[in-house]
């Protein structure tokens, strides 16, 4: 058990590419931290540097207060679960799990009791004499976890451990990982590209982009108070809607109508170097069918009318897709996010709006519908640097804040 501190840790490859840049991160003892970001953001490199499989170019890494930059992986006393599981195919499950203990030169009895104990926790007891080739994907995953927990290391590192499982098993294993971590109370660093995993598993989430940390915080905070456009777009499923907004006479002209602005935002936009064009972000759940909104709530938002394109009924609520006219929001961050989602070349005319309406809504495909959205939950971003302008002392305050 130990804390892990990254102090301005950077990774520069011999060919000059900078994979990780000045990452500062303090992971408390027993904390479950998720590193998340699109592929190539440096999250795996960061994990490998903590593991010792990758050299640290500059900066300092401390585990349990001790500088470990130059220590070999085996001297750091941390265990790792690989995306590919990396089970030793020539050994049985028991031998696989006993391997780190045998290397640590423990006596046979201790090894056996520790392996049996770990196997019991992960429900692997009946599989101990099998070879990895005769296991299912989920079982292999559990063996990989077993090999990590068996020697009670200072910390666990997990490199996308669930990404090779099918969707259903992944959800199941997610709870297993979560329960196991709480039970053992071991510091854990978990890398994933799946924002759902990041939201559901971690105590804190670190969002990375291009080798740099974008924001660190508990999942709900990242969701509610994204510091910039990238974080806002990355976290959440379906993701936040982004619309182009032009600043005009103290209000915002958008495809959804003119959005009034509160004093604080207006003051900020009056500065000489303030952007004249903004990106407006709204999460799908902050829309509602106008018919279902009571008078009190109605005043806090704005209404617009748009043609309904698709209705997806989820039972508990309805995902309704609208097409709205007007300029598309554009920024480097948004393009990167679209590319990561594999949708960079998929763009119709106008903007698509994803909304999550109540299940009672009588919305139907093909018709035009009046929709209300909450102005207090709006985010405004500067398209040049992605900064969230509605963020005030770390809290998002919406467009109307005074």
């Amino acid at each position: 058990m130990a804390d892990i501190v990254l102090d301005k840790v950077s990774k520069k490859f011999p060919d000059g590419t900078v994979a990780v840049q000045d990452v500062d991160l303090e992971i408390a003892d027993g904390e479950f931290v998720i590193l998340v970001g699109p592929s190539g953001c440096g999250k795996s490199t960061t994990l490998n540097m903590i593991a010792g499989l990758e050299d640290i170019s500059s900066g300092e890494l401390r585990i349990g207060g001790q500088r470990v930059n130059d220590k070999a992986p085996r001297d750091r006393d941390i265990a790792m679960v690989f995306q590919s599981y990396a089970l030793y195919p020539n050994m049985t499950v028991r031998e696989n799990m006993a391997f780190p203990l045998r290397l640590a030169k423990l006596d046979k009895e201790t090894i056996n009791s520790k392996v049996d104990e770990a196997a019991k926790v992960l429900e692997l007891t009946s599989l101990l004499d099998r070879k990895p080739a005769n296991l299912s994907g989920g079982q292999r995953q559990r063996v990989a976890m077993g090999r990590a927990i068996v020697r009670q290391p200072k910390a666990f590192l997990m490199d996308e451990p669930l990404s090779n499982l099918d969707a259903k098993l992944r959800v199941q294993m997610r709870t297993v990982v979560s329960r196991l971590q709480k039970q053992l109370g071991t510091t854990t660093v978990y890398v994933t590209h799946d924002q759902t995993e990041a939201m559901t598993l971690g105590d804190r989430v670190v969002i990375m982009r291009g080798g740099a940390v974008q924001q660190v915080g508990p999942p709900q905070e990242l969701y509610d108070h994204p510091r910039n456009l990238f974080v806002a777009g990355f976290i959440g499923s379906p993701s936040m809607n982004f619309l182009h907004a032009a600043v005009q006479d103290g209000s915002l002209r958008t495809a959804l109508g003119d959005v009034p602005l509160g004093d604080r935002i207006r003051r900020e936009l009056e500065a000489a170097d303030a952007p004249r064009e903004l990106i407006l972000g709204i999460r799908p759940e902050h829309f509602e069918d106008a018919e279902l909104v009571d008078e009190d709530t109605r005043r806090r938002g704005l209404e617009f009318e748009a043609p309904v394109e698709i209705v997806e009924s989820m039972g508990s609520d309805k995902y309704v897709y609208f097409t709205v006219e007007g300029e598309r929001a554009s920024a480097a961050e948004l393009e990167e996010l679209a590319a990561d989602a594999g949708a960079s070349d998929f763009s119709g005319a106008g903007s698509n709006l994803v909304t999550r309406l109540s299940a009672e809504s009588a919305v139907a495909e093909g018709q035009s519908r009046r929709v209300w959205f909450n102005l207090e939950k709006i985010h405004l971003f500067d398209p040049t640097n992605g900064r969230n302008l509605t963020l005030h002392e770390g809290r998002a305050a919406g467009a109307l804040a005074d």
Binding site: A51, G52, L53, A72, P73, R74, I78, A79, M80, F82, Q83, S84, Y85, A86, L87, Y88, P89, N90, F99, P100, L103, A104, K131, P132, A133, N134, L135, G137, R140, R147, R151, L157, N164
Partner: protein, 280 residues
């Protein structure tokens, strides 16, 4: 449908016939020499494929002469030692080539390929001179060294192909589990590369065992003469005896270890040994 089955049957028949032809072509000389080795001196030229009079005299003769037994020991010793060294060195070199990016890697691979392609005949005379000067002529090391030299490229090539198939994650996992670089290689990588190691060992052993050129050029006495070279000096029990039967018996005897060697190690060459290591 009917025509389809017919074509496949006919194709099968055609291929089967071709296979039989190839097998017969390859095996008849071997069987012939085996048959000659069981014939008496009187019937050796009678032209029968199956001996009229069976005898084990030829075998008795060769094992009675010191010459052959000594050559057999030389052959086994030299081939085994050369194989062992070549496989160990080859494994280390191949591992480095498949895992690391070091300056001069391309050059190393190129030079080893060059050595493999070099005609051995052109090297025999200089080697003869060098070994005489160094006192290696007509000794075991005098044969083992050139064998290793020519077997190494082969070993490096085969082994690096095998090492490349082993997922790198396994090595990282071993390191995370507390293994040193050496332990990771010995306890995780080498066992997985075992089929490759055995394949290479067989190939190298056969190369050393069958070599005639170096064996005849770099030896002069029974001290280090191997069987292929010794065969050419064969005279039989006495000078006046026709050694054909004895030579055939010796030829059969030196074929047996190769067959045993291959059969024994073939069991170890199990394909798909690495399955289950990673997803899939």
């Amino acid at each position: 449908m009917a025509t389809g089955t017919e074509t496949t049957t006919r194709a099968r028949l055609r291929w089967g016939l071709l296979d039989v032809l190839v097998v017969v072509f390859a095996l008849v000389p071997v069987l012939w020499i085996a048959s000659l080795s069981f014939k008496t001196p009187a019937t050796i030229t009678d032209g029968n494929f199956i001996p009229q009079e069976w005898t084990l005299d030829n075998y008795r003769t060769i094992f009675d002469t010191d010459q052959f037994v000594r050559a057999l020991i030389n052959s086994i010793g030299i081939a085994l030692i050369a194989t062992l060294i070549a496989v160990v060195l080859g494994a280390m070199a191949a591992y480095a080539i498949s895992r690391l990016d070091f300056p001069g890697k391309g050059l190393l691979v190129g030079v080893s390929l060059l050595i493999a392609m070099f005609p051995q005949v052109s090297l025999v005379s200089p080697l003869f001179e060098i070994e005489r000067q160094l006192g290696l002529f007509d000794t075991w090391p005098g044969l083992i060294l050139p064998y290793i030299t020519f077997a190494l490229p082969l070993a490096i090539y085969t082994l690096s192909a095998f090492f490349k198939q082993i997922p790198w994650d396994l090595e990282k996992a071993a390191k995370m589990d507390g293994a040193t670089q050496g332990q990771a290689f010995r306890r995780v990588i080498a066992p997985l590369a075992a089929p490759g190691l055995f394949t290479t060992a067989i190939l190298v052993f056969i190369f050393c065992w069958n070599d005639f050129l170096f064996a005849i050029s770099l030896t002069s006495t029974e001290r280090s003469r191997t069987v292929p070279a010794a065969l050419s000096f064969f005279t039989g029990a006495s000078q006046f005896e026709d050694p054909t039967g004895a030579i055939c018996a010796a030829a059969v005897v030196i074929t047996v270890p190769i067959i045993l060697f291959v059969l024994f190690f073939q069991r170890r060459i199990v394909s798909g040994l690495t399955s289950g290591a990673v997803k899939g």
